[in-house]
């Protein structure tokens, strides 16, 4: 799979985003991996609201794509994300993986569409949307949509929302980790599984750096 990492650049340049560009349909003509992250450590101050729309269209036979969305929503952050994949040629495939950690007062609104047209036979499309809640007063909307008009396809989606597992938390604390450190470790572990999927080494480093906690532990 040739890896073209468009999304990261798109997002980094989002300060000047214009809506039309944001809504543009991207034609997938070769195997591509899209990584979406949030521009958090912005030098010009924090952007509290992010709105992003990624539309992929599969018109060429046999191409495949992967969408990775990796987010750690700091306090008060609001992200609205839409991904949509439209399969109108045969033998295409697309896997979408979205993972987000919600800290206090953050909000994550995600809509993930999979559309398979009459000609999209032998399509493989999967969508996973997992949210780990680590704070209080969080809001989360999830709207995974399947619209399927062909029969010879495999399509599915899964969406989960859950709190940090008490047992994991307890275990880490019993090993001598502080509350914050244990929490950060769990959050990192949750997101890192997607980071590992990134094929390009450079990009992987950037993303890994982003999700790593900046906190200093005693």
């Amino acid at each position: 799979m040739k890896t073209i990492l468009l999304a990261i650049n798109n997002l980094i340049n989002m300060k000047n985003k214009n809506i039309e560009e944001n809504n543009k349909e991207i034609k997938v003509i070769e195997d591509t991996q899209y990584v979406i992250i949030d521009e958090e450590n912005n030098e010009e101050g924090r952007i509290l609201k992010t709105d992003f729309n990624l539309k992929l269209i599969f018109e060429k036979k046999g191409v495949s794509a992967e969408i990775l969305g990796i987010f750690n929503l700091e306090k008060g952050k609001e992200i609205k994300l839409v991904t949509s994949t439209k399969h109108i040629a045969s033998n295409t495939s697309c896997n979408t993986f979205i993972k987000a950690v919600l800290n206090d007062n953050s909000s994550f609104d995600y809509k993930g569409k999979i559309l398979i047209g009459k000609k999209g036979i032998q399509t493989n499309a999967f969508l996973h949307d997992n949210v780990l809640v680590a704070g209080e007063n969080t809001k989360r909307n999830s709207q995974p949509i399947l619209e399927i008009e062909a029969n010879d396809v495999k399509a599915s989606h899964g969406s989960t929302t859950g709190r940090i597992d008490e047992n994991q938390f307890y275990y880490l604390k019993s090993r001598g980790l502080g509350e914050e450190e244990a929490k950060d470790l769990i959050k990192e572990g949750f997101l890192v599984s997607l980071v590992d999927k990134i094929k390009d080494n450079k990009i992987r480093e950037i993303v890994l750096n982003k999700i790593k906690s900046k906190r200093e532990y005693l």
């Binding site: 704070g135 949509i145 859950g162």
Partner: protein, 467 residues
């Protein structure tokens, strides 16, 4: 019940001005204030109900058709009879039931012997309950199981306290329509702590051409009670479009458990647009079991409002869409209290150009600590012309909630078909077997006679469907 003397019932036939001599009465086609007033007059309803109907009519005329979902613009509201009285009034024993009705039952596959298993049979033939029998022990327990019209007549206080409180007439266009012209349906009250072991059954059917059916069901399961309610719908095939817009309200009180089972097999020209809602209090459990097989378009999203701690809502549904059918079904679970839980399991099969949709909503309010919900939707598409949608929405405004949603869409696996055919089954038998296996988890939850009926129906539908 046999002791009941109701002058009003015969009064209208004998001395009423509004009843034609012909014992069957059809309201004029179309909907107007006059028709609504007429219905209310025939039923000899109290003033508040007439006012309610008229307000609902106004709301119906104001409201627009839903802008989402299947296309409903082909419904001609002026071409429908809004009220139809059956040939005979309620009968108390099986022998008194008219032969023609018995024959239809026979066709439905309801054996005579089965009656003994039924705690009470309510058959809605056309718009009113034509047969009702309650076994004695039910009555001794104080269980009320009547047609909704009778419920209003005999228990006006109880009726008024709950009627329309869960689904106001302004809820949606079809709830407004139902509130304006409702007739028939069941009124059920289960007293505190009473366990009704055998399911309460009601059969609904439409027999006249272009007949709208607007039954209204009101169920109150008081504290700590348990009961099941089963309704099955079949209708003979006729050519013009027909409309079915029912409203069902269920109150599940503290610690009560109620199960509402529907098997819907309307003929393929019926628009089935139903509003069903349950309010579940502390420790209560509400279960909806829903089978949608027939109709042209079904739009049905039973919901549970979980308002008490530890309340639970459950929804199991099967949808089967064949040519020219669109089954748009789903569920709504609204978590409003701590430790509430819910589960939605939806299975759908589309064939011969049919379309199935799952449309659902799970909402967790900020106060609903530790709410849990699990949604599973599986769709099977059997041929190239058919389609399937999954349109769920989850709104989670509470940090401690645990919500899962999972959906898959697939066709029948080649390997499975190959294996079964290699064992000597024909391809269509093999497909039938796989489909039966696919819906099995829900069929298992049905009363036995329904499960058999459903399996027989699927088999029939699947016959010769291999493409």
């Amino acid at each position: 019940m046999s002791k009941r003397i109701d002058f009003r019932e015969n009064y209208k036939e004998k001395f009423g001005f509004n009843m034609p001599n012909d014992s069957s009465f059809k309201a004029k086609k179309g909907l107007s204030e006059e028709v609504v007033k007429n219905i209310s007059k025939i039923k000899d309803e109290p003033q508040w109900m007439l006012d309610y109907r008229l307000n609902a009519l106004k709301s119906f005329q104001k409201k627009k058709l839903p802008s989402w979902g299947p296309n409903l613009s082909n419904i001609n509201f002026d071409d429908i009879y809004y009220y139809l009285k059956p040939l005979s009034n309620e009968k108390k024993t099986w022998d008194e039931v008219p032969e023609s009705i018995k024959t239809t039952f026979e066709r439905l596959g309801v054996p005579q012997a089965e009656r003994e298993f039924l705690s009470g049979v309510k058959a809605q033939y056309d718009s009113e309950v034509a047969y009702s029998s309650l076994v004695k022990d039910l009555e001794d327990d104080g269980v009320i199981f009547l047609s909704t019209d009778e419920g209003l007549r005999r228990y006006p206080e109880l009726f008024k306290e709950y009627f329309g409180k869960l689904i106001p007439f302004s809820d949606n266009k079809f709830a407004s329509l139902n509130s304006a012209v409702w007739s028939g349906g069941s009124f059920v009250y289960i007293p505190k702590g009473v366990m009704v072991k055998r399911p309460l059954q009601a059969y609904f059917r439409i027999n006249a051409q272009r007949m709208g059916q607007f039954e209204r069901t009101l169920i109150i399961a008081d504290e700590g009670s348990f009961a099941q309610y089963v309704e099955g719908c079949t209708a003979p095939v006729y050519s013009t479009d027909s409309l079915h817009a029912a409203v069902v309200e269920v109150y599940v009180k503290k610690g009560a458990r109620f199960r509402y089972t529907t098997i819907q097999n309307w003929s393929n020209d019926v628009y089935n647009l139903v509003t069903k809602r349950a309010k579940v209090e502390e420790d209560g459990v509400m279960e909806w079991i829903d089978g949608n097989l027939g109709s042209k378009i079904t739009m049905k999203y039973p919901s549970c409002y979980l308002i008490g701690e530890r309340a639970r809502g459950e929804m199991l549904s099967i949808a089967y869409a064949s040519s020219d059918q669109h089954q748009d079904a789903g569920a709504k679970m609204i978590h409003l209290a701590p430790n509430t839980s819910s589960r939605i399991i939806s299975k759908s099969v589309s064939i011969n150009g049919g379309r199935t949709s799952y449309r659902g909503m799970v909402e967790v309010a900020p106060a609903a600590k530790n709410a849990k919900c699990r949604v599973e939707c599986d769709a099977l598409i059997l041929d190239e012309e058919s389609a399937s949608d999954t349109l769920p929405l989850m709104k989670i405004n509470e940090s401690s909630a645990n919500i899962e949603h999972e959906a898959t869409v697939s066709k029948i696996g080649e390997e499975k078909l190959f294996y079964l055919t290699s064992r000597g089954l024909t391809e269509s038998e093999a497909m039938g077997l796989i489909v039966s296996g696919f819906i099995e988890p829900i069929v298992k939850q049905l009363p036995m006679e329904y499960a058999i009926e459903l399996n027989r129906l699927i088999e029939l539908e699947m016959e010769g469907s291999v493409g």
